[in-house]
């Protein structure tokens, strides 16, 4: 009985390895390569999380990694203002704009659609966990084809620093006090999440036209 249990126990990590191995199979870039977008308009994100500020916090972190990846990124605040001025007050409505209208008025090659799945800090007795998770979909404006999709996610736990139970309690208290005053960990986590999703070797975005081949040789 005991031996049988141990065998199953040993099998378990292999199952995990196998499953995560499946998730990192190389991405099919056929549509992305056919489309070769030069410019991306980021639509203010849809929000399925409980944090009402999540869409605009997240929006403020996306221009930089996309531009550094080599794309022309339309100015996010100006685009948001333009939509609002044209009778679309919330991200939910902005996400339903027909692609031909985006082509006609903005002239973008691709649209980045985002759905925020999880956002914010949860406090437990001896720890707190901050988490961001969003689905990203890059769509060709002319053909409507999906060029690329990914999940951007990052998590930070107050007891990541170690220090045992007492350390965890102290950390949790400090984190909660900080969270109630100034420091919101979500923009930093979102940057980490974006960096992994966009620049991942196996299934990140392809380089855009402004990406310099080698920055190390300057």
């Amino acid at each position: 009985m005991d031996i049988l249990f141990r065998q199953y126990f040993l099998l378990f990590p292999f199952v995990i390895l196998f499953a995560s191995g499946c998730a990192t199979t190389p991405y099919d870039y056929t549509e992305f390569e056919n489309s070769k977008p030069r410019s991306i308009v980021v639509i203010p994100p849809n929000n399925s999380s409980l944090e009402v500020n999540a869409p605009y916090i997240y929006l403020s972190t996306l221009s930089r990694p996309l531009a550094e990846k080599g794309y022309y990124v339309f100015p996010v605040s100006v685009i948001d203002y333009f939509f609002k001025e044209n009778g679309l007050p919330t991200p939910a409505e902005m996400n339903n704009i027909p692609l031909d209208k985006i082509g006609e008025h903005i002239g973008a090659d691709a649209v980045l659609y985002i759905n925020i799945e999880d956002w914010g800090q949860k406090f437990q007795v001896i720890s707190s966990v901050a988490r961001v998770q969003a689905n990203l979909k890059l769509v060709d404006v002319k053909t409507g084809k999906l060029l690329w999709e990914s999940i951007a996610q990052a998590k930070k736990s107050s007891d990541d620093g170690g220090g045992g139970l007492l350390g965890a309690v102290v950390n949790a208290v400090v984190t909660q006090v900080l969270a109630s005053t100034i420091s919101d960990p979500t923009p930093g986590l979102a940057r980490q999440a974006n960096n992994v999703a966009i620049n991942n070797q196996m299934r990140g975005m392809l380089d855009g036209p402004y990406k310099q081949p080698s920055l190390t040789t300057e």
Partner: protein, 122 residues
């Protein structure tokens, strides 16, 4: 044991060097992300005039580093000037965005023609 250490050392060095190489950015971003964030999340903390000053300073810093001004920065500046009613400064910034990034032409031309209509109807 000591062999293991000697193998780890170059490995760490490689990781460190490649880490540096990938951290290099094409553009200077300065206050832009914070301004976008604060204008939504902390209403009143990033009024147009203050944003104009910070973005203009960032553009100077970017030029001092001989980096190209990042996508959207001049368009954002032109938009802020338009809100402030400074039409010639607005136009100048929009033209700059178009010159740097022709991908912005359709959107910028649309904004400029709407701004002109608003001006003539006032």
């Amino acid at each position: 044991m000591s062999l293991g250490k000697w193998i780890m050392l170059p490995l760490c060095a490689v990781l460190f060097v490649s880490g540096c190489a990938t951290n290099k950015e094409m553009y200077y971003w300065g206050e832009y992300e914070k301004l976008v964030h604060d204008s939504y999340i902390k209403p009143g903390s990033a009024d147009p005039q203050m944003q104009i000053e910070k973005i203009s300073t960032d553009i100077q810093k970017s030029e001092a580093l001989s980096k190209k001004v990042a996508p959207g920065i001049y368009a954002h500046l032109g938009f802020l000037y338009a809100i402030q009613g400074q039409q010639s400064e607005s136009k100048e910034a929009f033209m700059e965005e178009k010159a740097l990034y022709p991908e912005s032409s359709i959107f910028i031309d649309g904004m400029m023609s709407r701004a002109m209509k608003n001006e003539s109807s006032n």
